[in-house]
């Protein structure tokens, strides 16, 4: 590379990742409509939400810790999971082609969708071709990501969620706020209200007893299962060597969606492929304990293409990119694609616990969402998310595939700053302040002079404390005092103590 003058390009700036298309705007649910701090402020003021989340995350945290502590080789399992995922990402193209070949050989049809819009159009067409106007759905993050239900509704197709929590979210006209428990922001009193309001066939004497609520959903959904001719699912793991797909779940609704309808359409992000059945053994140990804190999940459904006379007789697999190749092209960022959507990082995150998932705007909330969403959309479109963390590191410790989320957050902040720096003519006030601080602290004399200038802050103090500072530091003094600068800095004391001469 050289400039137009034939000069070598300066090496100081790290090479920008190649321009691979990110997830497109205007479709799906990967982008927030407002910055995280604004949405978080509203969520923090919702006392019902705070109580629901605090209670739910504390319960799951304790259960997960106990389930993980049972395994003496947990750390080795995490390392294995990490290694399998890293190896898969290095050869993703090969494994995907192998998967495609195997699925086709066993009677399935494979489609490649560049992005959310292409996937929605494709799936709509597949359902229309069956003549059906309805489909039952297994809980799936990826169909939330692409906004499939909205796209189907626009085409006159009713998508029925069958996972209990997804049903609560759908009936409430709400958005999911958690990978595993999408209605974690609701308590049972609220769920009862939603059922009474939205379920046509519900017993008006319904109580908020969890068993009664589950029974109401069961009766409501039974009709749907028996009449559905199309099922839609996501995937937890896709095994390249045999073309076998795997969905893990707790309620049995997935098993029904995967076996009863005539046509099954499965959508998977391209990162969900794993090489072999041996690898599956590692993840089937890691996922349930990290996710539901179970030794094993109640239902593990696996299917390979089409089995004549048994289960769906038409099977379509949609392989979705939607920004994943862009994430893969980012050598540092790509480890975010290792995520198996267990939600352990959400449950241990002190930020998520207080703001809930909606504040993140994207269908992928919490620590992993704060790195995954900007990688899929480009950092500019989710610029506030990498900063929505105190970098406490609890997520890294909890992650079953050892994704170093704190380092990724720091990395994406740098990507954001660098991209803003090259896009703007006038640097932001923050960039100016940071550059100035760097200039001052690169030299001990300038630094010493700045310390002395800072002592002017003593004038602001009363009783040794400063209670108000101007923006942007007012964010600090809204709830915290600042100590007044001391009469002497440490280095002055050191000199005056006579030690400097020793």
């Amino acid at each position: 590379m050289s400039t137009f003058l034939g000069m070598p390009a300066p090496r100081a700036v790290p090479a920008a990742p190649p321009a691979v298309p990110v997830a497109p705007r205007g479709v799906g649910h990967l982008r927030a409509s407002e910055p995280f701090p604004v949405a978080a402020r509203r969520a923090l003021a919702d006392s019902q939400l705070r109580r629901n989340l605090g209670k739910a995350t504390a319960t799951i945290r304790a259960k997960r810790a106990a389930a993980v502590a049972e395994l003496p080789d947990w750390e080795e399992l995490r390392e294995a999971g990490q290694a399998i995922k890293a190896q898969t990402m290095r050869h993703l193209d090969g494994y995907l082609e192998q998967l495609e070949t195997q699925v086709r050989a066993r009677g399935g049809t494979v489609h490649w969708a560049r992005d959310a819009a292409e996937a929605n159009e494709l799936i709509t067409g597949l359902i229309q071709a069956t003549g059906s106007h309805a489909a039952v759905k297994v809980k799936s993050m990826v169909t939330d990501e692409i906004g499939l239900n909205d796209a189907l509704a626009a085409a006159g197709i009713r998508a029925q969620e069958t996972d209990l929590a997804e049903l609560i979210v759908q009936l409430g006209g709400d958005r999911p706020s958690h990978f595993l428990v999408p209605a974690i922001h609701r308590n049972r009193e609220e769920i009862r209200e939603i059922f009474l309001r939205e379920m046509g066939d519900v017993d008006p004497g319904l109580t908020d007893n969890p068993a009664a609520l589950a029974e109401a959903a069961r009766l409501h959904l039974r009709r749907e299962f028996l009449s559905a001719t199309v099922g839609i699912s996501g995937v937890n793991f896709a095994i390249a060597e045999t073309g076998t797909l795997c969905v893990v779940e707790s309620e049995g609704n997935g098993r029904m969606c995967l076996t009863l309808p005539k046509t099954l359409i499965t959508v998977m992000g391209i990162e969900k492929v794993i090489p072999s059945w041996r690898d599956l053994g590692v993840f089937l140990q890691l996922l349930p304990r990290s996710s539901t804190a179970e030794r094993m999940n109640p239902y593990t459904s696996m299917w390979t293409g089409v089995t004549p006379g048994d289960g769906p007789q038409e099977f379509h697999l949609v392989l979705l990119d939607n920004g994943r190749t862009a994430a893969l092209a980012d050598q540092t960022g790509r480890q975010a694609l290792h995520c198996i959507r267990c939600s352990a990082c959400l449950n241990v995150c002190p930020v998520y616990e207080r703001t809930g998932g909606h504040a993140y705007g994207s269908v992928y909330p919490g620590p992993i969402g704060a790195v995954l969403s900007p990688l899929l959309t480009g950092v500019e479109d989710n610029a506030s998310l990498p900063y929505a963390s105190s970098l406490c590191g609890a997520c890294y410790d909890a992650c079953p595939v050892k994704i170093d989320i704190p380092s990724l957050l720091v990395y994406l902040r740098a990507r954001h700053v660098e991209e803003a720096r090259s896009a703007r003519r006038v640097p932001s006030a923050e960039a100016v302040a940071m550059a100035a601080a760097s200039w001052v602290m690169a030299d001990p004399r300038r630094y010493g002079a700045a310390q002395q200038a800072g002592r002017a802050g003593r004038a602001l103090s009363r009783g040794g404390r400063i209670r108000t500072l101007p923006p942007p530091l007012s964010g600090w003094t809204q709830a915290r005092d600042v100590p007044a600068p001391p009469a002497r800095t440490f280095r002055q004391w050191w000199r005056e103590s006579g030690r400097a001469r020793s």
Binding site: P37, L391, R413, V417, E418, S438, W476, R480
Partner: protein, 248 residues
Amino acid sequence: MRVALFVTCLADTLFPDVGKATTVLLERLGHRVEFPAGQTCCGQMHVNTGYQRDALPLVRRYVETFERFDVVVAPSGSCVGSIRHQHAMIARRWGDGKLAGRAEAVAGRTFELSQLLIDVLGVEDVGAYYPHRVTYHPTCHSLRLLRVGDRPLRLLRQVGGLDLVELPGAEVCCGFGGTFAVKNADTSTAMLADKMRAVLDTGAEVCTAGDSSCLMHIGGGLSRLRTGVRTVHLAEILASTREGGRGW
């Protein structure tokens, strides 16, 4: 042993007693403390806010100032965490591979105070006396980046007169997070509120930790609410003696 003190910019400027305490403590244990005047800041604030390029001169300054010493101590888990986990990465990413190698070497000789005392100097009972009810907040970077484990608690348990009470939910972040406290002030405050409730529930007079930054955050909240509970750095407790009070 000759120990170089990296006092950290925060302690130097706002909490000089933490630097004095570290000095007095190590001298009392028979070691020689040096304070190279060329030191400034580790650059963590720049790195964690996204300004890696601006952090590079600070990484260089740290390396050039401290590479002539065999052992460096800093009274901050967070700054040592940055030195150990970020310095070489910054140098490498910004095209100075040579500096990265030097940074790695110095980082390997840089210790957080409790690590230095227990792992390098092999001492748990530093002969301190501090007759107060104290609770200990482990701070995220000491706990999860440096893995100091129970070292600070082992040191505190040997302090004469000290009534150590366990902090509920100790491992949960206090909400500081550097510029997070300003950029996401509301979320940070919500986290702080829960941490303060935990501290107050212990009935302690003093909340201690190995990081002035987290203590500035917790202490700033406790002061604003006039709780009457103080924050005191671990070094200040360990430097205190029956005879000499704070020792400086």
